[in-house]
């Protein structure tokens, strides 16, 4: 088991190098660099100054040399500074000599995105498991059909459209929930508990909207897994033993049916750090999606590479965790690994 783990972890190193190499070159295939933003298309800004900037950021060097410089920095875990005029560090804060702290871009955006996505995943999984089980147990009844219809509507409905409608409904005509942002004005003057409820109120809409589209996939997964299990011999045995139906469903069947979900949870780990540009723009949430989108438009290479590197690292870790989790939960898999 241990040697398997070590092998898997060592394998991640060439994988990461390969991923970063491909990302770096693809990124440079797009025309333009940080000096060609729309704001710099200004007759008062001279071409010499843009050239100066390109030299400063080594953008005039061949791509392979730029990659070498990047790897050299990353090897020391230095993700560099953004090319944008605020020059913020990509990953983590830095303190200057007089003690002023400049927070890192990912450091600022990641907690917000993580919080929303974790909440979203919890909601998606709990509702999906519930709905999936319910439709399996009531297979081919109106309950089953209406649940399927509901999750598919949730999947198909355009998120931004529903978001705007709900914002209007709950925020403008009823003034029940805040419309956008993460905090109310002056929230710093609230007590800690009120600050927390204020934040929760702001999260209700974005989290519900982002969860809605995830329900379909997982609830159908649970439903099908559940149906498979319910038709197996050991369930028939349990029934003939005279066990209560609820015990059969929730203890014997469900446990087996949600095993494959471990893989899905593992695979969704990298998704945790990615936000949706559209949802973040509409709800005015400064998360990872908007950060990545804006840096692509700006050709802010250090930020793009920073997010991609961390994303691919988490993907690999997620795969690993899924495999380990599977082995932990399923003795059959565990045996296979040890062999």
């Amino acid at each position: 088991m241990i040697s398997y783990l070590i092998k898997r972890i060592l394998w991640m190193i060439p994988m990461l190098i390969g991923i970063s190499l491909v990302s770096f070159f693809i990124m440079h295939l797009a025309p333009g660099d940080v000096t060609s933003s729309e704001a710099s298309f200004n007759p008062k800004a001279s071409e010499e100054s843009r050239q100066k900037l390109r030299e400063l950021y080594n953008l005039d060097k061949p791509v392979i040399i730029q990659y070498g410089l990047w790897v050299k920095r990353i090897a020391q875990l230095d993700f560099g500074n953004s090319f944008a005029s605020h020059q913020k560090p990509v990953l983590w804060e830095r303190t200057d000599k007089s003690g002023n702290v400049t927070k890192g871009l990912i450091q600022e955006s990641l907690p917000i995105t993580l919080m929303i996505n974790l909440l979203g995943i919890c909601i998606i999984f709990s509702i999906s498991i519930f709905l999936g089980t319910l439709s399996a147990v009531r297979q081919n009844t109106w309950v089953d059909r209406s649940i399927t219809l509901f999750v598919f509507i949730g999947f198909a409905i355009p998120g931004f459209w529903l978001a705007l409608l709900l914002m209007y409904w709950t925020g403008v005509s009823n003034q029940w929930l805040p419309i956008s942002g993460l905090h109310s004005l002056g929230y710093q003057n609230l007590s800690n508990f009120d600050q927390f409820t204020d934040l929760l109120k702001h999260l209700i809409l974005p989290v519900s909207i982002s969860s809605l589209s995830g329900l379909a996939g997982i609830s159908l997964y649970v439903r099908n897994g559940m149906l498979d299990i319910l038709h197996q011999d050991f369930i028939t045995t349990a029934r003939s033993k005279g066990l209560k139906e609820s015990k059969i469903v929730f203890i014997h069947a469900l446990k087996n049916a949600i095993l494959p979900l471990i893989t899905i949870v593992g695979l969704s780990i990298p998704g945790l750090i990615g936000g949706s540009v559209i949802a973040e723009s509409i709800f005015a949430i400064p998360g990872m999606g908007k950060l990545f989108y804006d840096s692509v438009l700006m050709r802010d290479f250090p930020v793009i590479m920073g997010i991609l590197t961390i994303g691919s690292f988490l993907t690999l870790i997620g795969n690993l965790l899924a495999d380990i989790g599977y082995a932990w939960a399923d003795p059959r898999v565990r045996k296979g690994l040890v062999k």
């Binding site: 060609s36 007759p43 071409e47 100054s49 002023n100 009531r138 309950v143 403008v172 005509s173």
Partner: protein
């Protein structure tokens, strides 16, 4: 049976509340905003901005969000008043020497920074040295590098001498924010805390900046220019304009820029909005044009350019794209300013005249109604960047040109690719783009024939010896009425040569909650924001905010 109960519970928990909320609509009382109110200090003005400011040091930042915020914190030596004439800002007066090469600025007495340290000519000199320092990452140095010598004879006097007389000089001093020497002298200007924690001299100072969410400015009581009436300016960062609009209608923000559809369609239909929100319309800061690649046939033929100019109905474009909220122009200057040549008018919509000119240029219609010359059809591609208004403009033009037998296709391209792949390489036929309506008339960088290198701004390849001469003259002439004549002539050449077709100058539209008083209507040439320090929110109309503890 049990499962059915479960499902019923689900309905009760998730669906029913939605119906209950939708029915509980309360009717709020109607406030009469048209009453006379007394002004008094205090209150918060909340506005929405689409992007977060990047860097509050204007010489380094390039984005409009940064300059909007920095403009409330910093002063320049000179500013434009509401009629766009030069007016004192930090400088009380200025004198131009007889040989037109030296400007002497006299600072106001008793100026100080928000931290209480006096603001003197040493700060001005420091700022000039900063922007001309080759290590400073600013794209705007070139104007200030023309200063041969800068000196401070005494703490209230700042003197600059130019190599040769430079007419746009005063204009350049309106946009240079003066920075504090005592804070920045040992800082690396390219990467300093000051860009997010500035100390300025103007009406407001930075109070709080929550990354990605909001920037709060507070009245600067050390400002010698006076204290503003509104205590706090809060800018909320809301990228999506529909969300901004919802926040406006829910009374959560006071000011936002709106689009023509909201101005012309939404507001007239919504009595409840009209009751509490006032709309303002002012000339915007830019114009949109159709530009020809003058190095490529057939656009090197003036008759073809003029013909296409006659074939495009500018009024139709304005009606279709801006819902009428724009003006046709015939000089590249802001309508209503002295630089507009009153004798010029846009090319009228005359398709017959267009066909005549095209026939002169050798084009004949074939059996399918397509214009042909030497067996080749008159066919080109309009490219533009991802900008809804420009895309729609291109579509309207495409239709009109098809009517006279020109085959036009449209391509929309992401900005960075647009500039690098097409503009810089000169690999395009026709563009739809915009230029700003600068307040100083100098447009040397855009139209002088020497400015055609890659990355320079005469990318259309315009070259006219008379225009070159006028642009050179105009840069050196400081006498305003002589200068006016020069640029009137320049505009006339530009209109005749038609290297671009002026399409429209759009209005800038703002919606402001009626609780905000003191805004000039109709907007003066400088726009409604020029006197925002005189705006006020009467006490009875202020929001109930979570109070400070």
């Amino acid at each position: 049976m049990k499962k059915n109960v479960l499902f019923f519970n689900f309905i009760v928990i998730f669906i029913l509340p939605l119906f209950i909320i939708s029915c509980s609509k309360d009717t709020s009382e109607v406030i009469d905003y048209s009453k006379e109110f007394e002004n008094s200090f205090g209150g918060n003005l909340i506005n929405a901005m689409a992007g977060e400011p990047s860097n509050l040091i204007a010489m380094i930042a390039g984005d409009s969000a940064s300059s909007a915020i920095a403009g409330n914190i910093f002063n320049s030596l000179v500013k434009y008043d509401e009629n766009l004439n030069y007016a004192p800002d930090l400088a009380e007066s200025w004198k131009i020497s007889n040989n037109q090469k030296t400007i002497t600025f006299k600072l106001k007495n008793g100026l100080q920074w928000a931290d209480g340290i006096p603001l003197t000519s040493a700060d001005v000199l420091f700022t000039w040295k900063l922007i001309t320092n080759p290590n400073t990452r600013t794209p705007y140095a070139s104007d200030y590098q023309l200063v041969k010598k800068a000196s401070t004879p005494d703490p209230l006097t700042f003197k600059v001498t130019y190599e040769s007389s430079y007419a746009p000089a005063l204009d350049t001093w309106t946009s240079l924010h003066i920075l504090p020497k005592h804070i920045l002298k040992d800082e690396d200007i390219n990467n300093t805390f000051f860009s997010r924690k500035p100390t300025g001299s103007s009406f407001y100072k930075l109070d709080k900046w929550i990354s990605g969410q909001q920037v709060t400015l507070k009245a600067n009581n050390k400002s010698v220019l006076g204290v503003p009436l509104i205590e706090k300016l809060i800018s909320r960062i809301i990228p999506d304009t529909s969300s901004q609009f919802l926040e406006l209608t829910a009374d959560n923000i006071d000011v936002m820029n709106i689009n023509p559809i909201q101005y012309q369609r939404v507001f007239p239909a919504r009595k409840d909005l009209q009751q509490k929100i006032a709309l303002y319309k002012e000339m915007g800061n830019g114009y949109t044009y159709l530009g020809f690649n003058l190095k490529k046939p057939p656009f090197n033929d003036i008759r073809v350019r003029q013909a296409l100019n006659y074939a495009i109905d500018k009024d139709e474009v304005i009606k279709g794209v801006l819902l009428g909220l724009g003006e046709p122009i015939s000089s590249p200057y802001k309508p209503g300013t002295r630089w507009i040549n009153p004798n010029l008018s846009p090319y009228p919509y005359k398709p017959s005249k267009a066909l005549e000119l095209l026939q002169e240029a050798g084009f004949k219609k074939n059996n399918d109604g397509i214009l042909m010359k030497n067996g080749k059809p008159l066919k080109f591609e309009i490219i533009t960047n991802q900008n809804k208004q420009r895309e729609m403009t291109a579509v309207v033009i495409q239709k009109r040109l098809q009517d006279i037998g020109v085959d036009v296709s449209i391509r929309v391209i992401e900005w960075a690719s647009f500039v690098n792949r097409f503009i810089k390489t000169g690999d395009f036929d026709v563009v739809v783009l915009g230029w700003s309506l600068s307040l100083d008339p100098d447009q040397y960088n855009i139209w002088h024939s020497s400015q055609q290198g890659p990355g320079q701004f005469n990318f259309l390849g315009y070259s006219n010896k008379n225009v070159d001469k006028l642009l050179e003259l105009g840069r050196e002439e400081l006498n305003i009425s002589k200068r006016e004549k020069i640029y009137h002539k320049f505009s006339k050449y530009l209109l005749e040569d038609s290297p671009i077709i002026y399409l429209y100058a759009g209005y800038s539209l703002s919606a402001v909650h009626k609780r905000v008083k003191g805004i000039k209507k109709p907007a003066p040439p400088a726009g409604i924001y020029h006197n925002n320090y005189n705006w006020f929110i009467p006490k009875p109309l202020r929001r109930n905010e979570i109070s400070e503890r």
